[in-house]
């Protein structure tokens, strides 16, 4: 089960045009992600970690190459098909949580469920389950401004998992949190991987955070490099 391939990147290149210059970020990148992986991606700032994660999430397109998800080439999908694909398969967790400031925790968690044909009570049940899993069922009625950073990130995790996606994509999920809170978040992510068999890809520049993953890739100058763990 665990060695079943979920994602496959084949000859991915990505470049931006900045002014008259073309800046290449990746050239001919190849990798695969298996179901049940907890993959950490590390690398210096500007090495393209976020860009890679965006491409995995179907919100950014490679300049060249194929992105296979369960054998389907998602880099060929139309804008609206990609949105539907994201709703079905992907959960995003952002560095700055990206909660809707006007909505309560429960309403924020509900958002992905609005894309499914679920009735009110089905949605209510899913929201409760997700908030319970991150230990925030008592804060369901609070708006983000009334929650701490760690609590907001937990709401964001609940939102990412509420529709039971195949893969969670986390961009510096602890980048804005203190060490103790970061550990709480990382433990939740690890739990999602070990107990709920979720596939996770986590971008981080923090080696401590990367330790929670089962595998770490180092990105530098557009390539994956083997790297001894810094001592």
């Amino acid at each position: 089960m665990n060695d079943q391939v979920l994602f496959e990147l084949k000859g991915i290149s990505k470049s931006f045009v900045k002014g008259k210059q073309e800046i290449s970020i990746f050239k001919n990148l190849n990798m695969s992600i298996n179901k049940g992986d907890f993959l950490a991606i590390m690398g210096p700032s500007g090495s393209g970690k976020t860009t890679l994660l965006n491409m995995l999430g179907g919100v950014d397109q490679p300049t060249k190459g194929d992105l296979l998800f369960g054998g389907d080439n998602i880099s060929r999908y139309s804008e609206s098909k990609l949105a539907q694909w994201r709703a079905d398969h992907v959960g995003f967790i952002f560095q700055f949580y990206n909660l809707m400031p006007m909505l309560t925790a429960a309403r924020n968690v509900e958002l992905p469920l609005l894309l499914k044909n679920l009735n009110r009570s089905q949605r209510k049940k899913s929201i409760e389950t997700a908030l319970k899993l991150v230990g925030l069922e008592e804060r369901a009625k609070h708006i983000p401004a009334e929650l701490s950073g760690g609590q907001q990130q937990r709401v964001a995790i609940a939102r990412a998992i509420v529709s039971d996606p195949d893969i969670l994509l986390c961009d510096e999920p602890t980048g804005d949190l203190d060490r103790k809170t970061a550990v709480e978040i990382l433990e939740i992510l690890q739990l999602l991987n070990s107990e709920f068999n979720k596939t996770l890809v986590m971008v981080t520049h923090d080696p401590e955070a990367a330790k929670y993953a089962s595998q770490t890739l180092h990105l530098d100058k557009g390539e994956f490099v083997e790297q001894e763990l810094a001592v």
Partner: protein, 396 residues
């Protein structure tokens, strides 16, 4: 389909709830729309009120004869022998004292307006002693009728209300002579309400008009039937006259002026609407910029760009609609039923009331929604086209 509606509803609710973040801007837009709608409604109410006042003045029992082609009363001249001849025409109602007609003339005098204390033109009409009988709904409410051959006047209740110096018993200087106010008449809101009446012969002599008149009012023996008089006029080359029923005559006079009000009001409202539109666009572009991360986050979650589009568009429509309602209420409170006077078709003061109509309200709300739609459409388009990776760049 349900899911799409749920998406759109969720985004709309979020946008509306985030309005307080942009409250001054949103309020300014709302007020701009309200002002545009109020101005439009004021013009429409003015046109409507004018039409109601003047258009209601006419009767089918009465006719008006003027020199052919003269259109307006002031352009017309009738000499005494023509008047005497026309009185013998068939189709005119007669009673014990003869045919029921009134040969009249009309001069402009100055009146002092109460509200502005300024001099404004007022019509002084010379009528026959039976002139009142040739106007439906007119009655003396105070004092008495003028005596033939004297410098006595009776004044319309509109004149009494809007101008100073015309109270019963007062002496007023009009032209070179002094006149005594001996009576007040009420017309139930027709054009005559803003006139002064005196004996036609007195007006002729005091204003050097010799024996000329401008028109003749005629009571018809059969309501609405002008044929006998028209035949009589056609058969006699000395009578080069046009004749209308009173209703036809005032209908045409009113139409020209109320059309003018509409044609002035709409362009002004539209010019102002363009200003409000610029404000709405600015507000909505700001809204999209402020919500960029939210919009992109929703898109990353899987929301379609349709919901981003409608969320923004509906926000603009809600603002504009509220503005439209506010403008309507303001216009209603400020203008409905207020009395005004304006230059009539023949350059005299006509007193009328603004009248708010259901169709004017509808026009106002439609104009507000058009501003909201255009003001929301382009920002909504931008919202729909926002790149999703904005969500990942937030604050970073």
């Amino acid at each position: 389909m349900n899911a799409l509606l749920a998406q759109i509803a969720a985004v709309v609710v979020m946008n509306i709830r985030s309005l307080p973040q942009r409250k001054w801007m949103s309020l300014a837009t709302l007020l701009a729309v309200a002002i545009v709608v109020a101005v439009l409604l004021a013009f429409l109410a003015m046109g409507e009120g004018f039409r109601a006042t003047v258009g209601n003045s006419g009767s089918d029992n009465l006719a008006i004869a003027m020199r052919a082609g003269s259109q307006a009363e002031l352009n017309s001249v009738l000499m005494r022998d023509q008047v005497n001849l026309l009185e013998t025409a068939p189709g005119i109602r007669k009673d014990a004292s003869g045919p029921l007609t009134s040969a009249e003339l009309y001069v402009i005098v100055d009146g002092i307006k109460r509200s502005t204390d300024s001099e404004v033109n007022l019509p002084l009409r010379g009528i026959s002693p039976r002139g009142i009988e040739l106007r439906e709904g007119v009655q003396l409410t105070d004092g008495r009728m003028f005596s033939p051959g004297t410098n006595e006047i009776i004044v319309g209740s509109g004149v009494l209300r809007e101008f100073s110096g015309f109270d019963l018993g007062q002496k007023v200087k009009l032209g070179n002579a002094t006149w005594n106010v001996v009576g007040v008449f009420d017309t139930g809101g027709s054009v005559f309400e803003s006139e002064l009446w005196a004996d036609a012969r007195s007006v002729q002599s005091q204003f050097n008009r010799g024996s000329s008149y401008q028109l003749m009012r005629i009571a018809l023996s059969t309501p609405g039937d002008l044929s006998a008089i028209e035949e009589f006029i056609a058969a006699d080359p000395r009578l080069n006259l046009d004749v209308w029923t009173e209703k036809q005559f005032y209908g045409e006079q009113a139409k020209a002026t109320s059309d003018l009000i509409f044609y002035l009001g709409w362009p002004l409202a539209i010019a102002m609407a363009l200003g409000a539109l610029a404000g709405a666009l600015n507000t909505m572009y700001t809204s999209v910029a402020q919500r960029a991360v939210e919009i992109a986050t929703l898109r990353a979650i899987g929301f379609g760009n349709v919901s981003a589009f409608f969320g923004t568009l509906v926000e603009a429509l809600v603002l504009a609609f509220l503005g439209g309602i506010l403008g309507t209420i303001a216009a209603f409170m400020l203008f409905d039923g207020i009395s005004a006077s304006t230059l009539g078709g023949n350059f005299s003061q006509i007193v009328f009331s603004f009248e708010m109509s259901a169709s004017a309200f509808q026009d106002g709300i439609v104009l507000a929604l058009v501003i909201g739609f255009i003001g929301g459409f382009f920002p909504a388009w931008r919202a729909a086209r926002l790149p999703v990776i904005v969500a990942f760049r937030s604050m970073g």
